[in-house]
């Protein structure tokens, strides 16, 4: 499959990237390109211009800023895996990075690219030739949702591995736009809409991920379920974090955005993590999500996997 035509910008400073995005309507940022370029080949994303972030040194690297660890947006997943301190403090983050795609996705793919990846659906992530058999789906610019058979709605699923790990680590996102720099909780990066899943204003980019050092005091773990040990997106991914009486749990690949499992967290608040307590909490796993069969995996199966995966992740905390 071939890429469509687009213009390519390769700034070396953040400000220039933002200008380039602002000056080219419809332009998109590209980091490793492992998500975006595939969608462009499928003709489901057709930005007329790409602004590459890969030459901007400021966007790379892992550093300490006060009481937070700051990871540059364009830090690759491999670089995250290789950082020993990250591994010690935030094991879930490193486990998630190791779980993404294959070796190649990890060496090309970046942290922000992973967080900002598009949502997925069996009717959307297909070529133009494949999709023309049906009417254009809502997400691709038409009206219909072929999964639920309704109009003007989209349940495409957020399937990134990094987001749940960062959610339980209470990470924030540093954003830069024409007006300057701001910080938002990671959860606020996601709109919850299948059609446009990111709540990022135009000409804004993620410049870094900020993890409070305090999160390093707790234990964390990421558990991914997929058929193959390589390449596959998660069928379900679960991250847990625990410190004293408080537990944070997040899932991916179960809804239009990565989700914190509030029901589980509430049920376990102040509880001892005994077998029965965990089992009981696990039954609440699918409470806060809208499961829709956007892949071949049936909803009931995914619900079961959510529960089992949560249990496994908690167990792994020791």
């Amino acid at each position: 499959m071939r890429l469509p035509k687009f213009t390519h910008h390769q700034p070396t400073r953040i400000e220039d990237a933002i200008h380039a995005l602002a000056d080219n309507p419809g332009a998109k940022a590209v980091a490793g390109g492992t998500d975006l370029l595939v969608n462009m080949k499928h003709r489901v994303e057709l930005p007329p211009a790409l602004v590459s972030l890969s030459r901007i040194d400021e966007l790379r690297g892992i550093r300490r800023e006060g009481d937070a660890t700051v990871i540059g947006a364009c830090t690759t997943l491999k670089e995250i895996q290789r950082d020993e301190e990250l591994g010690r403090k935030f094991p879930a983050l490193v486990q998630a990075a190791m779980a993404v795609g294959s070796y190649r996705h990890q060496t090309m793919g970046t942290l922000a690219g992973n967080l900002c990846q598009n949502t997925r659906c069996r009717f959307f992530n297909q070529s133009w030739e494949w999709r023309r058999v049906r009417s254009l789906c809502f997400k691709a610019g038409g009206e219909d949702c072929h999964v639920v058979g309704k109009k003007n709605i989209c349940f495409s699923t957020y399937s990134g591995d990094m987001a749940p790990a960062l959610l339980v680590l209470n990470a924030a996102i540093r954003i830069q736009g024409p007006q300057g720099i701001s910080h938002i909780p990671l959860a606020d990066l996601f709109s919850g809409q299948g059609k446009s899943p990111l709540a990022l204003a135009s000409a804004h980019i993620v410049t870094a991920v900020v993890i409070p050092e305090a999160s390093g005091n707790g234990l964390s773990h990421y558990e991914k379920f997929s058929l193959r040990d390589s390449i596959d997106f998660p069928i379900v991914g679960a991250a847990v974090w625990r410190e004293n009486g408080s537990v944070r749990v997040a899932f991916t690949a179960v809804d239009r955005a990565p989700v914190r499992a509030q029901a589980i967290e509430a049920a376990l608040q102040g509880q001892k993590l005994t077998g029965p307590a965990i089992e009981k909490a696990a039954s609440l796993a699918a409470k806060s999500v809208k499961l829709v069969p956007t892949t071949i995996h049936p909803v009931a199966f995914k619900r079961d996997i959510m529960a089992s995966l949560f249990i496994r992740a908690v167990r792994a905390l020791g």
């Binding site: 499959m1 071939r2 069996r122 992530n125 297909q126 070529s127 133009w128 030739e129 494949w130 023309r132 058999v133 379920f225 058929l227 193959r228 040990d229 390589s230 390449i231 596959d232 997106f233 071949i296 995996h297 049936p298 199966f301 079961d304 996997i305 089992s308 995966l309 249990i311 496994r312």
Partner: protein, 761 residues
């Protein structure tokens, strides 16, 4: 026993270095000056009449050099089995599945070709479609091909022995139904063709990733209406076939057609998606097996009913369903058998030959049922296989001649290797072992085209050049042929060179299918090499004052048997040969056709189908994740009777590939459709196992010395693909007590089954 120098050695593939350094040229690596790029327009509906095709916008696009539809080309059908031809290069009146080719465009670059294809507008009148063979055979089902009265396009009804009597004599009779899903061959190289036309003499040359150049040539001649001697098919390096590259496709026809019409080279390259949707896949098959056994587990009669989902066209239909039938009677001795098999059209991607070709589906059913029966009547499943094993010299109800057979030993050895005694039924819940057996022909004894030829030249410098028609598709056919020739002429591998699978310069060959290459083309090469050696030896014997039969050769030296000092170097021999005024190079020829007193394709009559038969047992150990349903294959061993392995490393390559393929069939792969549209047409979504999923693997060999194969060789290609899937599913049953009779066994079905069992208890 004969001492061998090159045969039997772990020689690397002769083109390995060029492949790993990226220098080997596959079809898409080739480019010719002025080359045009083609693209096919494919049906977007599963079934319907073509009302009109508007190509005007495509034609008007600058850079477009040609657009054709089915009406612009001869009304000729093609197909791999002559009497089952039913496919047009481009659909004429009807489309039969989503992905059927309806038009083709060529342009000066790929982008323009793609855009032009999108501009072709086809108007259809949809016809109700049918997607399951069991629906397609119902009264009133939509008729897929107008020239037939039903959707059954091939069938077989056979009775061997006396089945009624067999059942009457049985202590138990069991009936079970099994289903094997569609899987795709997924060769790493997508299908491609490049054609060029010589305006001066009318010669048409096509480079195509084909497994069978000579069949392709013939099909091109009959569809293009060009004499066969004007067509030259060249097979460049091929990145895997597994049977998918046996058929001719629209890309072959269209590349040739445009090259001839336009006088410019034309290339077609399929997208991965087209490989999944518009080439071939393994036939999904429903099999109902009724088996009568005595108390000891001896099979006294079997009755089998099979429905194969053929998809929209025949491809190899009659042969596939025939193989499925006849190979029930091997590796077990089944004296009384009724087999009723149907190849049914549906509006889906087309079934075709795929490693094992109709036999894996039957093997899955039979090998699963043996385990079921063993459990029901309380005999050991491995022992039941030994009790029923066919042995060398035993009569086969259809007339197969079993000269050598290591099957019974392979069962015993495989059981030992997997730890059957200690493990079967004794491992903790969630862990289990299972095994399954199989047999496969080494090629097809007689059908049109089924001979191989070889020419071997020995030059003045001692360089050996082979011409062979054999089609190496990555399995190492060329290497094996070089080894055989090197052995006979007594030179190291690096002195031997091969030019193969070019119908313009190489002798006839049947091609790569039915696991026949090593035995057939290997024997032809052996004869040609012997011819060279005989010429050389008769000269050298004169010089050394001995009989030619007394001479030995190895390591570029010829000497008198038992007297190593009485000899000369090959170089000296050739020097003297030249100065004795003999013509050089020394040229040897060989041709080989399987010996068959009663040649048969089995389609119409019984007989010895193949020159010889391989046998094997594969055993698996699995671990089931009881919470997530995932099955991990921990270990897999193969015990194999392939006669004399010409190259043990290449045999192991086949074994390892078959384990991966078997795991895919058993656990991972499902070429599913949504309303006739192939749903997962990418390596990401299709999800075959990767090297990460591979288990610990072991291979053991049962020695047999076959009288027909070169150096006693038998096939080692397709056969090993038959048993891995049932072995794995048998192991799952041992692990969790759930009997899965439907493939694939995904985490979802495992969890459902575990839940159901938990609810019960």
């Amino acid at each position: 026993m004969k001492v061998l120098n090159t045969v039997g050695q772990r020689v690397p593939m002769h083109d390995a270095a060029t492949k790993v350094t990226g220098q080997a040229q596959f079809t898409d690596d080739l480019a010719l000056p002025g080359m045009l790029y083609g693209k096919l327009v494919r049906s977007t509906i599963p079934h319907g009449r073509i009302v009109s095709i508007d190509v005007s916008r495509a034609k008007a696009l600058p850079g477009v050099k040609g657009v054709i539809t089915g009406k612009d080309i001869p009304d000729r059908v093609y197909g791999i089995v002559p009497k089952a031809k039913d496919e047009h290069a481009l659909a004429r009146d009807k489309v039969h599945y989503i992905g059927d080719a309806v038009a083709a465009v060529v342009a000066v670059d790929k982008e323009i070709a793609e855009e032009a294809a999108r501009l072709v507008h086809v108007e259809y009148e949809p016809i109700p479609a049918v997607f399951d063979p069991l629906d397609a055979i119902k009264e009133g089902a939509p008729l897929i091909h107008d020239n037939l009265k039903t959707n059954i396009s091939a069938s077989i009804h056979k009775e061997f022995g006396d089945v009624e009597k067999g059942f009457a004599a049985s202590d138990y009779v069991f009936e079970d139904t099994f289903f094997s899903q569609a899987v795709n061959h997924a060769p790493i190289e997508p299908h491609a063709a490049l054609a060029a036309y010589d305006l001066q003499n009318g010669d048409l040359t096509i480079w195509s990733c084909t497994q069978i150049p000579y069949f392709l040539k013939r099909n091109l001649a009959t569809t293009l209406l060009v004499p066969e001697n004007k067509i030259r098919v060249i097979k460049p390096k091929v990145g895997g076939g597994f049977g998918q590259k046996i058929d001719m496709y629209a890309k072959d026809f269209c590349a040739c057609w445009f090259a001839k019409e336009l006088g410019r080279p034309v290339k077609f390259l399929y997208e991965r998606e087209e490989v999944f949707q518009s080439t071939r896949q393994r036939h999904p098959m429903y099999l109902t097996v009724k088996t009568g056994v005595n108390k000891a587990g001896k099979i006294l009669a079997q009755k089998i009913t099979a429905y194969a989902d053929g998809g929209a066209y025949n491809s190899t239909a009659p042969l596939m369903i025939t193989l499925s039938c006849f190979f029930i009677m091997i590796p077990y001795r089944i004296e009384n058998l009724i087999y009723e098999g149907y190849h049914v059209y549906t509006n889906k991607p087309v079934g075709g030959a795929m490693r094992g070709h109709g036999i894996p589906q039957a093997r899955f059913a039979i090998e699963r049922q043996i385990d079921l029966i063993a459990k029901r009547i309380g005999v050991d499943a491995a022992e039941m296989r030994v009790i029923n094993a066919i042995r060398a010299g035993m009569p086969h109800p259809a007339g197969f001649i079993i000269n050598t057979c290591g099957f019974a030993d392979s069962v015993t050895e495989a059981a030992k290797a997997i730890g059957w005694k200690e493990k079967r039924g004794k491992l903790p819940f969630g862990r289990g072992v299972g095994l399954a057996g199989a047999s496969f022909p080494s090629g097809v004894a007689n059908m049109a085209h089924l001979a191989s030829g070889a020419v071997v030249q020995l030059s003045r410098e001692g360089r050996v050049s082979i011409l062979s028609g054999a089609a190496d598709i990555g399995q190492g056919a060329e290497t094996v042929i070089c080894q055989i020739v090197a052995e006979q002429i007594g030179v190291p591998m690096e002195d031997v060179h091969i030019t193969a699978a070019d119908t313009g310069t190489c002798p006839l060959d049947a091609g790569t299918f039915g696991s026949g290459v090593t035995v057939r083309a290997g024997n032809a090469a052996l004869l040609a090499a012997n011819d060279v050696r005989d010429q050389l030896f008769s000269f050298v014997a004169d010089r050394l004052k001995c009989k030619p039969d007394d001479l030995m050769t190895a390591n570029r030296r010829i000497w008198v048997k038992g007297n190593p000092d009485a000899g000369m170097s090959l170089s000296d021999a050739l020097f003297e040969y030249q100065y004795s005024n003999r013509p050089l190079p020394i040229v040897g020829r060989g041709g080989w056709i399987p010996p068959a007193e009663q040649p048969t394709s089995l389609l119409t009559k019984n007989g010895n189908f193949s020159p010889n038969y391989s046998f094997m047992t594969q055993a698996a150990e699995v671990e089931v994740d009881l919470e997530l349903g995932k099955v991990k294959v921990v270990k897999m061993v193969t015990v194999h009777d392939c006669g004399q392995p010409i190259n043990p490393m290449l045999v192991e390559g086949q074994l390892e590939g078959s384990i991966m393929g078997g795991m895919g069939q058993a656990l991972y792969e499902d070429s599913t459709c949504i309303e006739g549209q192939q749903y997962n047409p990418s390596f990401l979504d299709y999800g075959f196992p990767t090297v990460m999923e591979m288990p610990e693997m072991g291979a053991l060999h049962i020695d047999t010395d076959d009288p027909v194969g070169p150096f006693g060789a038998k096939e080692a290609g397709e056969g090993t693909q038959l048993a891995p899937a049932p072995a794995i599913v048998n192991a799952i049953a041992d692990a969790i007590g759930v009997e899965f009779n439907r493939l694939p066994v995904t985490p979802q079905v495992v969890l459902e089954a575990l839940k159901k069992n938990a609810d019960k208890s």
